[in-house]
């Protein structure tokens, strides 16, 4: 079961003249929930975007399942087994729920699609009730579920979630985190970016703290939750 799924080695990412990621390295092992926590603008989302190929690093290497993906175009990385639920969900508002899920299965083999759809509806029964509804009319929580369901349609080995709790009521946040833990138990490796550090650390096997484009701390979820520096900066105590 164990073994490294993803290795990010010394990446540097720029937005024009702005040096957003300054030499970040991290790894994710099979079956883990790994979380990146940090303040707004620290570079968490940028890291995920670089892994999924929407942004490029000037240095270093990103390796997924023992092959380098640093230069693989974004639309091919999905087929290799990385699914990215972007910040703000970014579901296709004008498409129906089912069409959104079909888009999630764009690279999935035909004979797996029906099976995956069933799995997604099992995880998110709410979506099944709304298959033909236009996605833009869903509530925030449902949209988050749709974004996650859509990402699961491609049978990902690694699921990357960017701020899944953003803008949701506390009860929905709990629900989303329950689902994350369930997905992980079912075998999906998860890389989770969160501003809600407390929630993230409570479910994570390991965690990295990112500050202004650098990793400043790392350890198990438990260790970091107890660390004074983290408590002070991110846990409001």
């Amino acid at each position: 079961m164990m073994g490294t799924v993803l290795t990010v080695d010394n990446i540097n990412v720029y937005y024009g003249a702005i040096h957003a990621i300054k030499g970040i390295s991290l790894d994710v092992n099979r079956g883990e929930i790994v979380t990146l926590i940090g303040a707004n603008g620290a570079g968490k989302s940028t890291t995920l975007h670089t892994i999924s190929g929407l942004l490029r690093s000037k240095t270093g290497n990103i390796e997924f399942l023992e092959s380098s993906i640093s230069h693989v175009p974004a639309h091919k990385i999905v087929a290799m087994g990385i699914s990215h639920v972007p910040e703000g969900r970014r579901i296709f508002q004008g498409l129906t729920v089912e069409e959104n899920l079909q888009m999630g299965a764009f690279v999935t083999k035909k004979d797996r699609i029906a099976h995956n759809l069933e799995y997604v509806y099992e995880q998110f029964p709410r979506l099944k009730e709304r298959t033909s509804q236009i996605a833009g009319t869903l509530s925030g929580g449902e949209q988050q579920m749709l974004a996650m369901g859509r990402a699961l349609m491609s049978d990902p080995e690694l699921l990357m979630l960017d701020e899944p709790s953003m803008g949701l009521a506390p009860i929905l946040v709990d629900q989303i985190f329950d689902i994350i833990v369930n997905l992980n138990k079912a075998g999906t490796t998860i890389l989770l970016v969160e501003q809600n550090a407390q929630m993230a650390l409570s479910v994570a096997d390991r965690a990295y703290v990112i500050e202004t484009g650098r990793i400043t701390l790392s350890g198990t979820g438990e260790e970091l939750a107890k660390s004074e520096a983290v408590k002070k900066a991110y846990l409001g105590g």
């Binding site: 175009p73 974004a74 639309h75 296709f92 508002q93 079909q102 764009f106 491609s154 803008g167």
Partner: protein, 294 residues
Amino acid sequence: MTLLTNLISGLSLGSVYAIIALGYTMVYGISKMLNFAHGDVIMIGGYMSFIMTMYIGMNGWLAMLVAMVVCTLLGIMIERLAYRPLRGTGSLAVLITAIGVSYFLQNIALLIWGANPKMFTSLFKGMKPIHAAGGQLTITPESIFTILANVVIMILLTLFVSKTKAGKAMRAVSEDNGAAQLMGINVNQSISLTFAIGSGLAAVAGVLMLSTYPVLMPTTGAMPGIKAFTAAVFGGIGSIPGAMIGGLILGIIEIFSRAYISTELSDAIVFACLIIVLLVKPTGLLGKKISEKV
């Protein structure tokens, strides 16, 4: 009866605008750019069809098919060579490039075929017009086929974008290019396909238009291009049914202004209507903004 005759001419002209407007609206939808060279693709389609029938002696329908293939390839090439390298830069650079491509095509045509107008032979030559109401109402085969072609194209295109995988992918890319890539959709391919469809349809529109208005010269595509662009904005740019409705309304307004107000003023009236619609509804008739929910 003249009212009905005018209405049919209006619908026919409007159908041509609608088919051209589809190219504008689909390209705008997917790559958020105004392809001002689209009108000139119509002209190239017209010349292709003209050459095939006049010099090679091809059947008109077959010639239209050749024109469609040529224009499809031309559309893909324009996107690949002129617009793709500029993707991600400012929209102003792309807009100016599109105007450049437009003049480039017009001047290439001028170089090859000269400035003298050519008389296009109607695709429906030999077919008899239909007379009704005791000879008071005449419907030309050009009108019937143009209106019919528009209806068929709309139905096929609507089915394509709502039912097929490639069509849904096009809608996904239109909405969110980045998220579409995260689904594994090849955005470049999707955009190429859009240009291909739009340009192929431009060839059809060109042949239909020239069958009714047979004067073919290098600037033939410019005015209908602008009008169809207006139709697309009128109906709500980015919307396929919007292009259809915008085109039809524009065609009817134009023909009615010509018939009842003034031939010289007809274009002014068309554009005045556009301005009024945009003042009242800035997104066009069917354009909509989906509000984002958190």
